[in-house]
């Protein structure tokens, strides 16, 4: 594959394939009617913009609640996965294959099956209609991504560096904190990001566990997409993607700061 073919043709092609569909969504946010066979929309409007900003306070509260929940899911996901990955790589664990296999279980269980089951369990524990319940439910579905990523990352870094540090006199915590953690930072960010994205987009699960009392952005967005009003669907989708984009960059920024701090201190 010649380098020229790749950089002049394929690279731009990939970028177009990703962005063109999103462009159509962006454009549709401002369209009221687009008759056949015109390539230019027939009627423009900013009705959808007005809709989404109808009540700015409520709108931002909604975003905030979604970010809070998904943020907690991301944090807990990372902690859980880092611990689990560490157990796999640094220790002798029986049934590693089984546990690894089971970590992929959320992919296999359709949301309706899980939703119905978890609802009755949570009612018994009093966790239904609560934020904690929603976080736990989201956590289960974010876990496969986070765990696989952390496992791959922890494996590739391996035990050698920490063992070296230990042999030079560092204690276990120092070895982890100063050596492994900075090296794991990229993978930790990737896991957090994935977990956040999966959680932020959860609709069915949030409804069934949250009982309508836990409101996230996805819960308000999905009915509009189903309603067929394409401009409103488009603008909510647009904001959804923008929020995730911002969060992703924020995570990267935070991660870099944390890395710096560890190296300095």
């Amino acid at each position: 594959m010649s380098k020229k073919l790749y950089s002049r043709f394929l690279k731009p092609l990939f970028i177009i394939l990703i962005f063109f569909p999103l462009l159509t969504i962006f454009v549709w946010s401002f369209i009221e009617r687009w008759e056949w066979p015109s390539l230019v929309p027939t009627v423009f409007s900013n009705r959808a913009m007005n809709v989404i900003f109808r009540n700015k306070q409520d709108f931002f509260k909604l975003i905030g609640s979604g970010i809070l929940i998904s943020g907690m899911v991301a944090l807990l996901s990372v902690i859980t996965s880092t611990m689990a990955a560490r157990a796999f790589v640094f220790y002798e664990v029986k049934y590693k294959n089984l546990i690894n296999f089971l970590s992929l279980l959320p992919f296999m269980v359709p949301a309706t099956v899980f939703g119905m089951g978890i609802q009755s369990i949570f009612i018994k524990w009093g966790l239904n209609n609560s934020i904690l319940g929603v976080v736990i439910a989201h956590l289960i579905y974010s876990q496969p991504y986070a765990f696989q990523l952390m496992l791959a990352g922890t494996e590739s870094i391996g035990r050698t560096y920490e063992e070296l540090a230990r042999s030079l006199g560092a204690n276990a915590w120092q070895a982890f904190y100063k050596i492994s953690l900075p090296m794991l930072m990229p993978v930790i960010l990737a896991s957090a990001s994935m977990a956040f994205v999966v959680s932020f987009g959860q609709y069915f699960l949030t409804l069934i566990v949250g009982g309508g009392q836990v409101k996230t952005f996805a819960i308000v967005m999905v009915p509009y997409i189903q309603s067929g009003e394409r401009n409103i669907a488009a603008i909510y989708s647009l904001f959804f993607l923008i929020i995730l984009f911002i969060i992703n960059h924020l995570l990267n920024y935070v991660g870099k700061k944390v890395e710096e701090k560890i190296y300095k201190g």
Binding site: Q119, A172, G212
Partner: protein, 423 residues
């Protein structure tokens, strides 16, 4: 050592939050902004059943009432948040919590809670038809309550079939009317000059505009009502008013309709092999010009669409000569609601001429009040010029067909899937 402590701490934290939350919520009372009302204990039930309306007004002050229903209608959401909720707050100091949730999920949640014997956050539910029947039969609703609402006495005609029956199923005071709906057909006058007035003319219309006519796949409720309208046109509708019919009996009665639909298939957009996925999809196809014919339960929805610019000004609505199916949608109260008093006050407010007129004005939704019971002043509130595309209310209501019994609707949908698709 530190690592071990850290991990123990984290695990402990997790377990602690598990159990701690379990403790605080086992009693499962949803505390509202001031008052709590456990509905499942004996004292609670007696309380709400014995209250006069004035006592309910007192009890509802400063509380939160939740209203669960489909959240995909942006204008309705806006009206509920800005007009209805505002009125509730100003007049009764009730805070409305509008929760967007599909009815199937509401049913799932409610049934799970009721079975577990716990209170829940659902107070008011936007509901009708088969879903209402399912809830009522499974004891998931509180009632009867409508006769205790002053505005129900004052403005509603309790003997009207639109109020007494919901898809042929007796309401018995378990839900209060909210809005009326009636199917209208929609075309763009600039593209199409015909207005088919019955099934035969419609078939000719489909032949002429081959590939540009469609109805969504059942069990979408718009597709479903189209089929039921055809049944009215081609079969003996009255025979179907019996809720105890078996599937085979229904199949026999609606055979002429099935034959008609199969005859219609080749002229449809998907040639009868595939159908638009949903009502909204089909509406978009009409708006884009892919289809020349549309229909909707929202009798004045097209009027609103013209105002928005989604439809061109030349769009018109019409109905069959024999009439089109209409229904009422309702508000019910959850059996395990913790604020039944608040719910009743709120529902009572929805039945005021002011709210119903505002709903007509802003959302073009048909009101449920009995015209005869309105004063002349109140009647004026409803005299609105809705524009050229609208069919006058009295004409609509004079050609209104009742819905079939709720239990038969899924049966008809099954028969359609078996005998019409791909045939």
């Amino acid at each position: 050592m530190k690592k071990k402590i850290l991990s123990l701490l984290l695990v402990g934290l997790l377990v602690f939050s598990f159990t701690a939350c379990g403790q605080t919520e086992t009693s499962n009372e949803i505390t509202t902004d001031g008052k709590t009302e456990t509905a499942t204990n004996e004292g609670g039930e007696k309380n709400i059943d014995g209250m006069t309306f004035n006592e309910m007004l007192e009890a509802a002050k400063g509380t939160k009432v939740s209203f669960y229903g489909w959240g995909g209608n942006e204008k309705l959401n806006k009206w509920l948040d800005e007009v209805y909720a505002k009125s509730l707050k100003e007049k009764y100091d009730i805070t409305l919590d509008r929760v967007p949730m599909d009815i199937d999920q509401i049913l799932s949640q409610l049934s799970g809670e009721v079975q577990a014997g716990v209170d829940g956050p659902i107070d008011m539910i936007w509901i009708n038809g088969e879903n209402f029947k399912s809830c009522k039969e499974n004891n998931m609703l509180y009632g009867p309550f409508t006769e205790r609402l002053p505005n129900f006495e004052k403005y509603i005609d309790p003997e009207s079939d639109d109020i007494k029956l919901d898809f042929g199923y007796p309401v018995e005071g378990y839900e209060a009317p909210y809005s009326k709906a009636q199917v209208v057909f929609v075309v763009d006058g600039a593209k199409v000059s015909e207005r088919p007035k019955n099934a035969a003319e419609f078939l000719e219309f489909a032949k002429k505009y081959k590939g540009k006519v469609a109805y969504p796949a059942l069990p979408d409720f718009t597709g479903s009502v189209f089929v039921r309208n055809i049944i009215n046109e081609t079969c003996d509708y009255s025979k179907l008013m019996n809720p105890d019919l078996t599937k085979e009996e229904v199949r026999e009665i609606i055979k002429p309709a099935i034959d008609y639909l199969v005859e219609l298939n080749p002229y449809l957009w998907g040639e009868g092999k595939t159908f638009p996925v949903s009502g909204p999809d089909k509406m978009n196809m009409f708006s884009d010009g892919e289809l020349v014919f549309d229909f909707t339960y929202e009798s004045y929805g097209p009027v609103q669409s013209i105002a928005d610019g989604t439809y061109p000004e030349t769009v018109e609505t019409f109905i069959f000569d024999k009439g089109t199916i209409g229904n009422t949608n309702f508000i019910a109260i959850a059996k395990n609601s913790t604020n039944k008093a608040g719910a009743m006050v709120a529902i009572n407010e929805m039945l005021t001429p002011k709210m119903q007129a505002s709903k007509l004005q802003e959302l073009k939704l048909l009101p449920v009040l009995d015209n005869d019971k309105l004063s002349d002043e109140e009647k004026k509130l409803f005299e609105l010029d809705l524009g050229k595309a609208a069919i006058p209310q009295d004409e609509l209501l004079s050609k209104r067909l009742p819905e079939l019994p709720a239990g038969l609707v899924p049966i008809i949908e099954e028969i359609w899937a078996e005998d019409v698709v791909g045939k």
